[in-house]
Symmetry: none
Subunit: 211 residues, 4 copies
DNA sequence: GATGAATGAGAATTCATTCAT
DNA sequence: GATGAATGAATTCTCATTCAT
C-alpha cells in the first residue's frame, strides 16, 4: 500500500516535471499531451487520472512555479543589513532565481501572452504580488532618504522586474543579433552588475552635474 | 485590370491585417487559419494562394512589423538637439510606437518564446539591431561626458528596451494584480515620465550623497 | 479574325501538348489543372473554355494518341514483301513508334489501370483493335505455312504487344534493378533484335531436337 | 494484454487488407484515406498511428506484395526434374500467382508508372530481382543445349515477365475489345498453354524449315 | 494503479471549377 | 478571346480525451 502511494506520488512528480519542461518550451497550445506522457514515461491515461485535463495540468505547473517565486519573496523578507544592502540582496535573489529557473521565466511569458487567463485563477487564492518584499524595501529606502522621494514605486517595481526578466527572456535573440554567447557565466555576472548599477544610479553622470 | 489588381492587393492587405491581429492575440500555434480567413472575409484558398502556408503568413506579418520598428529607428536618426534631448526623444519615439502598436509588442513576445526561430530568417536579410540609433547616441553621450563612462552599452540597450516593452507586455496582469486600469492615458504618461527619470537618474538620491 | 482563329488553334495545341505530357507523367488523378495551364502558358479559364473539364481534356489527349497508333496500323497495311518480311516490318513499326512515343506508352498504362474507363468511350466510335494489321498478317502466315498452324492468334497478339510495350513501360525499374542504362540506343537495338528472334523462334533449340 | 495486442495486430491487418485493395484499384493518388479507414472499419486516426502517412501505408502494402512474389521465387528454387520441366513449372508458378493475386499485378503497374519511386526504397533493403530463379534455369538450359545458345537472358526475362503479366494487366480491355470474357477459367488455361508454347517454340514452323 | 487501443471533432492544405472584368 | 481573383467541397493529417481490460 505504502509503496503504491509512493509510486503514485512519484508518477505525479514525473508528470509534473515533464509537463513543466514541455509547457515552458512550447506553451499551452504547442504542448502535446502525448509528448508529456512520453517524456514522463507514463501512460497517458494516468495523466488524466491525476490531473483531469491538459489545462488543469498546465495550471498545476503554473501554481508550483508561483509557489517557488513566492518562496524567494519569503527568503527576501529575512534579509539583514542597511536598506541599500537589503535591496541589493533582494535583486540578487530574484536575479539568480531567474538564472536557475529558465522554465519559470518562459512560463511567465506564455502566461502574459495568454493575458494572465490562468494566473488570475491561481493568484486569486495565493498571495498577490511577485515582488512584494521589494516594494516594502523601496518604501523604507525612500523614508530613510536613501532613495529619491519622488519615485513612483509601482512603476519602479515593474522596471526592476523588467531589467531582470527581459535579459533571461531574450538571451537567445541577443545571442543571435550580437553574435555573442549570452548564456556564459561571465555575461551573467556582467548583467547582474549592470542591473544593480543601472537601477541604483541611472545613467547620468551626477558628479559632473554637481560640479 | 487595375481594379482587379487593386482588389488582389486589397485582399492581401485584408489577410495581413487579420493575420496580424490573430497571430498577435494567440500566437502561431493558437491562431486558426479559418479564423484568419473569416476575419479577412476571404476564402481560405486565397490565403494559401498568396502566402503559401500558415507559417509563411506568420513570417510575412512578422517581417512587416520589423519594418515598422526599423522605420522608427530611421526617424530617430533625424532627431536634433543636445545628446540628452536626443536620447529623450528616441526613448519617447519607441515608447509611443509600442503604445500604438500593441500587436507588435505581442508578436515580439511570441517570437521570443519561439526562440527567435522566425526572426532569425527575417533579420538575416534585413538590417540588424532594433535600437541601433540609441546605441550610437549613448556612446556619443559617454564621449561628451553627459553619461557615465563606465556604462555597459549593450546591457543598457537591453534594459531600456526592457523598461519600455515590459510595461506594454504586462499591462493586463498588472491591471489585475493592482486593480488599476493600466491602459488609461494617465498611466501611459506616468509611465513615460518614470522611464525617463529612472533611466537617466536611477533611484539613488545623489544630492544627499553629495552633501 | 483569321489570326484570332489561328491563335485559338495554337492555344488549343499548346494545351494539348502540355496536358499530354502531364497526364502521361502523373495520370488523371495526379495531374493538376494548374500545372497544365502553367505548362501551356495559358490561362486556366481557356482550358475550360476549350475542353470543358479536366476529364474531357484527358479524353481528348487519349483520343489523339489512339489516332497516332491507328496511323501506324495504316502504315503497316502498305508494307510489301514476303509474310515474314511483312511481320518483321510491322513489329519494327510498332516498336519504334513506342520508342518515340513514350508518353503514348504511359497513357495506355494509366488507361489500363483505370480499367479502360475512357478507352471504352473513345474506341467505341473509332476503329477497334490496336494491332489489326498484325492479326491479318499472322493469319496469312499460317495459311501459307510459314507459321505454325496451331497458333492462337488472339493470345499471340497480346504476347507480341506485351514484349514490345513492357520493355518501354519498365525500363526505369530494370535500369535500377540491373544497374544498367536501359535507355541507350544500344539497348534499344538489342531489344528489337531479341523481340524478333524470340517471337519467331521461341527459345528451344530446334536443330538439336531434329537431330 | 494478449487480446489487446491481438486486436492491435488484427486492426493493422484490416487496414493493410483494405489499403491493398484500394491502392490496387485506384493507385496512390486516387486512393482516399477515408475510404481505406471505412473499408477497414477503423478510425482514421489509427491508420496514422500505425502507418504514419498515406504514403507510408502504401509502401507497406507494396513491401508485403514484394514479399509474396519473392516467396514464389523461393518455391521455384525447390522444383525438380529436367530443365524443361523446371522452366515450365516456374512459369506456371508465376502465372498462377498472378492469376490469384490480381492486386499484386495492379500494384506493380501503378509502381511502374510512378517510375519505381517506392520500389527503389523497398527493394534496396530486400532481395533483388523478382525472377532470379528463372534466370538461373535459363542459363542452365543453355549450358545443357536445351535452349539456344544465342539467347539474351536479360531480355528473355523481361519478355517472359511481359507475356505473363500483360495478360492479367489488360484482361479488362481485351474483354471489351474482343467481346469475350477473358476472366473465365477456360481462357486462363488457354493462356498458360499459349505462353508455354510461344515461349518455348516461337511462332515459326521449324519442321517446314527443316524439310 | 496501470495500459494500449480507439475515437470524434477539428485543423491545415489542396483542387477543380467559376466569376467579374 | 483572354485574364486573374475567388470559391466550396474535399482530403490529408492531428489532437485531446475515453474505453476496455
Amino acid at each position: 500500500m505504502v509503496s503504491r502511494e509512493r509510486n503514485a506520488e512519484e508518477s505525479k512528480q514525473r508528470i509534473m516535471k515533464a509537463a513543466e519542461h514541455i509547457f515552458a518550451c512550447r506553451g499551452l497550445d504547442g504542448a502535446r499531451v502525448d509528448a508529456i506522457a512520453e517524456a514522463a514515461q507514463i501512460n497517458k491515461r494516468m495523466l488524466y487520472h491525476y490531473f483531469g485535463s491538459k489545462e488543469d495540468l498546465y495550471m498545476e505547473v503554473l501554481r508550483e512555479n508561483y509557489k517557488k517565486i513566492l518562496a524567494v519573496g519569503q527568503k527576501a523578507t529575512r534579509v539583514e543589513g542597511s536598506v541599500l544592502e537589503k535591496v541589493t540582496k533582494v535583486i540578487e535573489y530574484y536575479f539568480y532565481f531567474m538564472a536557475e529557473n529558465e522554465e519559470f521565466v518562459r512560463l511567465i511569458q506564455w502566461e502574459s501572452l495568454y493575458q494572465g487567463r490562468f494566473t488570475r485563477k491561481i493568484l486569486a487564492d495565493m498571495a498577490q504580488d511577485s515582488l512584494p518584499r521589494l516594494k516594502a524595501l523601496l518604501e523604507e529606502g525612500i523614508r530613510e532618504g536613501v532613495f529619491r522621494s519622488d519615485l513612483d514605486i509601482r512603476h519602479l517595481v515593474i522596471s526592476i522586474n523588467a531589467v531582470i526578466m527581459t535579459f533571461f527572456a531574450r538571451r537567445d535573440i541577443y545571442s543571435f543579433l550580437w553574435d555573442r554567447d549570452m548564456k556564459s557565466r561571465e555575461v551573467l555576472e556582467e548583467r547582474l552588475k549592470h542591473i544593480l548599477d543601472f537601477t541604483l544610479n541611472g545613467i547620468l553622470n551626477h558628479r559632473k552635474k554637481e560640479e
